[in-house]
C-alpha cells in the first residue's frame, strides 16, 4: 500500500514541479516559436500518456495487490484492445511528427532574402564575416589562413574582396531580417548556439554547414558552444547583438572589408620596405 502512495506522490510531484518550476526556457527571440509550440504539444500528449500510464499502474497496485484467496484473471491477449491501443498510439505519434516535419522543412529551406554570415570556429573562439555589397561571400580554404588573411579567403575569388570582417567575437544582426548562418571550423567540431534563438548546428571541419533564423527581439544574447570541442569547451563563448535597421547600418559602416585589410597590409609592407631601404 505504501508503495502505491509513494508512487502516486512521485507522479504528483512531477506534475507540480512542471507547473511551478522556476527553471524553464528563456523567451524565444527568433522565428522558431514553432519549436516551442511543438514542445508544448509534445508535453501535453506525452505528459498525458505518462500520467495516465502511471496512475493506471498505481491504481492496479492498490486494487490488485496480493490476496491469498484471490486468483488473477487469465486472459492471454485481447486483440481488440491491442488494436485500439496501437492505432491510438500511431495517431498520437503522427500528430507529433507532423508539426515536427513541417518545421524541419522550414528549417532546411532558407528564405531567399536571408543575409549570409560566415561563422568560423576554432579552439576556442568565433569570428564572423559578412558578404559585402555584392551580397556574396568569397570562397575560403583552411590553408590560406594566416595573420593577413584571418578567414582564409581565396585571393583569386572576386567575391571575397568586399567581404566585411568582424574583428570581434560579437556579431550584430538586423532585427526582423532572416540570417543564414554558414558554419565552418578549422579544427574540431563546434556548435554555434544561442538558446534564445532555439536553433543550432554543428560546425564541422572540412565542410560548411548551415541553418537560418530571423531574430525578432532587440537585445544582446550570449553564444554558447554546444558541441564538445576540447578542454576549453565550457568557456567558448561569443555574442550576438540584435539591432534595429538604423543602428545596424551604422555598425556595418564601421567594419573593415577584406580589401581594406589587404590595402592596409600593403601600406604596411611598403612602409616596411621603405624603412628597410633607409
Amino acid at each position: 500500500m505504501h508503495a502505491g502512495i509513494i508512487f502516486f506522490l512521485v507522479i504528483l510531484g512531477s506534475v507540480l514541479f512542471h507547473i511551478f518550476t522556476p527553471w524553464y526556457w528563456t523567451d524565444v527571440a527568433s522565428n522558431w516559436g514553432g519549436m516551442d509550440d511543438t514542445i508544448t504539444l509534445t508535453f501535453w500528449i506525452g505528459g498525458g500518456v505518462f500520467i495516465a500510464v502511471c496512475l493506471f499502474m498505481v491504481y492496479c497496485v492498490f486494487k490488485f495487490s496480493y490476496k491469498e484467496d484471490r486468483k488473477a484473471e487469465y486472459k492471454p491477449e485481447d486483440k481488440k484492445l491491442e488494436r485500439i491501443l496501437t492505432w491510438a498510439t500511431t495517431l498520437g505519434v503522427a500528430a507529433l511528427l507532423a508539426p515536427g516535419l513541417i518545421i524541419w522543412n522550414q528549417y532546411v529551406n532558407v528564405p531567399k532574402n536571408a543575409i549570409e554570415i560566415d561563422v568560423m570556429a576554432w579552439q576556442w573562439g568565433w569570428q564572423y564575416r559578412l558578404p559585402g555589397e555584392d551580397g556574396k561571400l568569397g570562397t575560403t580554404k583552411v590553408v590560406n589562413i594566416n595573420d593577413d588573411n584571418p578567414f582564409g579567403i581565396n585571393l583569386d575569388d572576386p567575391y571575397g574582396n568586399d567581404d566585411v570582417m568582424i574583428q570581434s567575437d560579437v556579431i550584430n544582426l538586423e532585427n526582423n531580417r532572416p540570417v543564414k548562418i554558414l558554419l565552418r571550423s578549422v579544427d574540431v567540431l563546434h556548435n554555434w548556439y544561442v538558446p534564445q534563438f532555439r536553433a543550432k548546428m554543428d560546425a564541422v571541419p572540412g565542410i560548411v554547414t548551415y541553418y537560418w533564423f530571423e531574430p525578432n527581439k532587440v537585445g544582446e544574447f550570449e553564444v554558447l558552444c554546444a558541441e564538445y570541442c576540447g578542454v576549453g569547451h565550457y568557456a567558448m563563448r561569443g555574442g550576438v547583438e540584435v539591432q534595429d535597421k538604423q543602428d545596424y547600418d551604422n555598425w556595418l559602416q564601421q567594419q573593415e572589408t577584406f580589401s581594406d585589410l589587404i590595402a592596409k597590409q600593403e601600406i604596411l609592407e611598403t612602409s616596411k620596405t621603405k624603412l628597410a631601404k633607409k
Binding site: 500500500m1 508503495a3 508512487f7 512521485v10 507522479i11 512531477s14 518550476t21 522556476p22 527553471w23 524553464y24 522558431w32 516551442d36 511543438t38 509534445t42 506525452g46 505518462f50 500510464v53 499502474m57 492496479c60 497496485v61 490488485f64 496480493y66 486468483k71 488473477a72 484473471e73 487469465y74 486472459k75 491491442e82 491501443l85 496501437t86 498510439t89 505519434v93 507529433l96 511528427l97 516535419l101 532546411v108 579552439q123 583552411v142 590553408v143 558554419l183 579544427d187 574540431v188 567540431l189 538558446p195 534564445q196 532555439r198 536553433a199 554543428d202 564541422v204 571541419p205 565542410i207 554547414t209 550570449e222 554558447l224 564538445y228 570541442c229 576540447g230 578542454v231 569547451h233 565550457y234
Partner: protein, 613 residues
C-alpha cells in the same frame, strides 16, 4: 583429455522415447506427444581442478557470474567517476583537485564504461550466459570453450581500458562518442595513448563479444529442448536473443570506426581528418570526413541502445508476470514488438545527428523511422501495465523494481519522443535534456531491471533469498534518489545549459541552475551510496540467508525446474526437460495451483483452459 567427457551419459535414451514421462493421472499418449530429439546429447567438459572449475571454466552459469562480477566491478568504477563529475558540477569549490582535463576524461570513461563494459556485458554476458541455457532447456551453451574465451577476451578488454588510467596523458577525454578530429588531436586529454588503448579495448571487446554472441544465438536457434518452440520461450530469452542479433550486426561498425581512427592516429591516414589548422599550423591531414565516423559510430550506437534496452524489456516482462501471478498480456505482440524494435533500430541511427551537419534532408527520414519505433515501444508499456490489471500483485522487492522501471522508462521514453522528433530536437540536443533523457531511459530504467533481476534470480544462483526489508530500503533510496537526479535535470536542458560543461560559468540564465546542480549532486551521492545496501544484503544472505528451496517464486519457466538448486553443470541431471506450454500459465482457471510449469504435460491439466501455444 577424453576421460573428462561423460560420453554416453543419456544420449540415446532421449531419441527412442516418444512419450514424455509425465506420470500424472489420466495419461493420454496423443495429447502429450512431443516429437523425439533431433539433436544428440551434448558432451560437456567437466573441470576437475579449481582453475578449470572456477577460472577457465566452460560452464555457462559460472561464465555468467564471472561476467556479472567483472561488469559490476567496472560499473563501480563508472559510478565513482560519476561521483567525481557531480562533485565538480555541484560543489566546484570542493573539487579543487579536478582540472577540466580530468573532468572530460571522467565524462568519457564514465560513458564508455557504463554503456559498453557495464550494461552490455552485464545483460548479454551476465544474464545471457546464465539464463539462456537454463531457459531454453539446454545443457550448456553450444560452444563452451568459445564461451570461456569470450569472457577472458572481455577481461583483457577491461584490463586494457583501465590501463589507460595509468599511461602518460591518461585516458581519452574526447567524450564517449570519441568524435574525431577531437579524439586524436593534440590538446585533447589522452590523444596519444589514451585513445589508442580505448580503440584496442573496444576491438578486443567486439572480438570477445562476437564469440559469446555466436554462442547465445546458436543456443537459442539450434539447441532448444524438446517441445520448446520459439513462441514458447520466455521473453527474457527473446530480449537477449534479439539484442545479441543487434550486437552481432552493429558492433562491426564500431570495430571499423575504431580501426580507422587508430590508423588516423598512428599512421596519419586521413579517413576522418580534414585539413586542420591547429595553433597556427596546418596539420598533415586532408580530405577526410568527420561525419563519416559519426555515421559509423551511430550505426553501432543506436542498436547499442537497444542492445541494452531489449534484454531489459524481456526480463521485466517475466518479472512482472511472475510476481503479478498473471500471464504476460499479449505475448505475441510482445515478441513482435521486440523483434520489430530490433529491426527498426538499424534504420534510425542518424537521429543522434540531426544537428551534426549531415545532409539536412536525412532529418525527414530519420524522424519518421524514429517515431515509428515509438509505437511498438508504447505497446510494450501498455502490455506491462495491462499485465498488472486484475493480477494478484505481490508487492515484494522485485515487483517494486518493476514498478520503478515502468515509471522511469515511460518518463524517459516520452522525452525520447521530444528528441526523436527532428525539429523539437534542435533546441534540446546537446543540452542537459539529452543527458537526463538517456540516463532515465537507458541508465536508470535498465538498472531497475538489473536490480529486480538480481533479487529475482539470486535464489537460483546461490540457493538463498535476499533480505526483503533491506531490499525495500535499497529500492526506495535508489528509485527516489535517481528520479530526483534526472527529473529536474530535464529543466536545465530547457534553460539551454549545454552538456559537457566543466563548470557553469557566468551566463545569467545558467547561474540560476547552481542550486539545482547542488541538489542533483547530493542525490547522486545518496543513490551511489545506497548500492552498499545491496552489497551488504548479498554478503549477509550468503551467510545467513533464508534457503530458497525449489522455485521460491512459483514461476513457470524452465530455469526454476532444475533437479538441484543452484543448478549443477549440465543443468538437468539425467534427463532433459520436455516442454509442453509457454512460460506464463499463471492463475489458470481450474488448475490446482496458480501456476502450471512449462514441463507439465497437457494430460495433467486436462480440465483447464490453458493457452494453446
Amino acid at each position: 583429455m577424453s576421460e573428462d567427457f561423460n560420453d554416453n551419459k543419456t544420449i540415446q535414451a532421449q531419441s527412442s522415447e516418444t512419450i514424455s514421462g509425465g506420470g500424472g493421472s489420466g495419461l493420454s499418449p496423443d495429447k502429450d506427444y512431443v516429437r523425439p530429439a533431433e539433436i544428440s546429447e551434448q558432451d560437456l567438459y567437466h573441470g576437475h581442478s579449481f582453475i578449470t572449475k572456477w577460472v577457465f571454466c566452460q560452464d555457462a552459469k559460472v561464465i555468467g557470474v564471472q561476467y556479472f562480477l567483472l561488469a559490476t566491478f567496472t560499473g563501480i568504477i563508472g559510478l565513482i567517476l560519476s561521483w567525481l563529475m557531480r562533485l565538480q558540477l555541484g560543489f566546484p569549490e570542493l573539487a579543487g583537485f579536478m582540472t577540466a582535463e580530468h573532468y572530460y576524461q571522467f565524462v568519457t570513461m564514465h560513458g564508455m564504461i557504463m554503456v559498453v563494459y557495464f550494461l552490455t556485458a552485464l545483460f548479454l554476458g551476465g544474464f545471457g550466459n546464465f539464463l539462456i541455457p537454463l531457459m531454453v532447456g539446454a545443457r550448456d551453451m553450444v560452444f563452451p570453450y568459445l564461451n570461456m574465451v569470450s569472457f577472458w577476451m572481455f577481461f583483457v578488454a577491461v584490463g586494457v581500458l583501465l590501463a589507460s588510467f595509468f599511461v602518460p596523458g591518461g585516458p581519452t577525454g574526447s567524450g564517449w562518442t570519441l568524435y574525431p578530429p577531437q579524439a586524436i588531436l593534440e590538446g585533447t586529454p589522452g590523444s596519444g595513448y589514451g585513445i589508442m588503448l580505448m580503440c584496442i579495448s573496444l576491438i578486443l571487446f567486439v572480438a570477445g563479444f562476437t564469440m559469446g554472441g555466436l554462442n547465445y544465438l546458436i543456443t537459442v536457434l539450434q539447441a532448444r529442448t524438446r517441445g520448446m518452440t520459439l513462441m514458447r520461450m520466455p521473453l527474457t530469452v527473446w530480449g537477449i536473443f534479439t539484442a545479441t542479433v543487434l550486437a552481432m550486426l552493429a558492433f562491426p561498425a564500431l570495430l571499423v570506426g575504431a580501426l580507422m581512427m587508430s590508423l588516423d592516429n598512428v599512421l596519419g591516414t586521413s579517413f576522418f581528418m580534414p585539413t586542420i589548422l591547429k595553433a597556427g599550423e596546418v596539420l598533415e591531414y586532408g580530405g577526410g570526413s568527420p561525419i563519416l565516423f559519426q555515421h559509423l559510430f551511430w550505426f553501432f550506437g543506436h542498436p547499442e541502445v537497444y542492445i541494452v534496452a531489449l534484454p531489459a524489456f524481456g526480463i521485466i516482462s517475466d518479472l512482472i508476470s511472475v510476481h503479478a501471478r498473471k500471464n504476460i498480456f499479449g505475448y505475441r505482440m510482445m515478441v513482435w514488438a521486440i523483434v520489430g524494435i530490433g529491426a527498426l533500430s538499424f534504420f534510425v541511427w542518424a537521429h543522434h545527428m540531426y544537428v551534426s551537419g549531415m545532409n539536412p534532408w536525412f532529418g525527414f527520414f530519420f524522424a519518421t523511422t524514429t517515431l515509428i519505433i515509438a509505437v511498438p515501444t508504447a505497446m510494450k508499456v501498455y502490455n506491462w501495465i495491462l499485465t498488472l490489471w486484475r493480477g494478484n500483485i505481490r508487492l515484494n522487492t522485485v515487483m517494486l523494481w518493476c514498478l520503478g522501471f515502468i515509471v522511469t522508462f515511460v518518463n524517459g521514453g516520452i522525452t525520447g519522443i521530444f528528441l526523436g522528433n527532428v525539429s523539437v530536437d534542435v533546441p534540446l540536443s546537446d543540452t542537459y535534456f539529452v543527458i537526463a533523457h538517456f540516463h532515465m531511459v537507458m541508465g536508470i530504467a535498465p538498472l531497475m531491471v538489473i536490480m529486480g533481476a538480481v533479487y529475482h534470480w539470486f535464489p537460483l544462483v546461490s540457493g538463498r533469498l535476499l533480505d526483503e526489508k533491506l531490499g525495500k530500503w535499497h529500492f526506495w533510496l535508489t528509485f527516489l534518489g535517481a528520479y530526483s537526479i534526472y527529473f529536474p535535470m530535464h529543466y536545465l536542458g530547457f534553460i539551454g545549459v549545454p552538456r559537457r560543461y566543466f563548470e557553469m560559468y557566468d551566463s545569467p540564465y545558467m547561474t540560476s541552475a547552481v542550486g539545482m546542480n547542488e541538489f542533483i549532486s547530493i542525490a547522486a551521492f545518496i543513490v551511489g551510496a545506497a548500492q552498499l545496501i545491496l552489497m551488504y544484503n548479498i554478503i549477509k544472505t550468503l551467510k545467513v540467508g533464508k534457503p530458497a528451496g525449489h522455485n521460491p517464486w512459483k514461476a513457470c519457466s524452465l530455469e526454476w525446474l532444475t533437479p538441484s538448486v543452484p543448478p549443477e553443470h549440465g543443468n538437468w541431471g539425467d534427463k532433459l526437460p520436455i516442454v509442453h506450454r509457454w512460460a506464463y500459465d499463471f492463475s489458470v482457471p481450474g488448475a490446482k495451483e496458480d501456476f502450471i510449469t512449462q514441463t507439465t504435460p497437457p494430460s495433467e491439466v486436462a480440465n483447464t483452459e490453458v493457452e494453446k501455444t
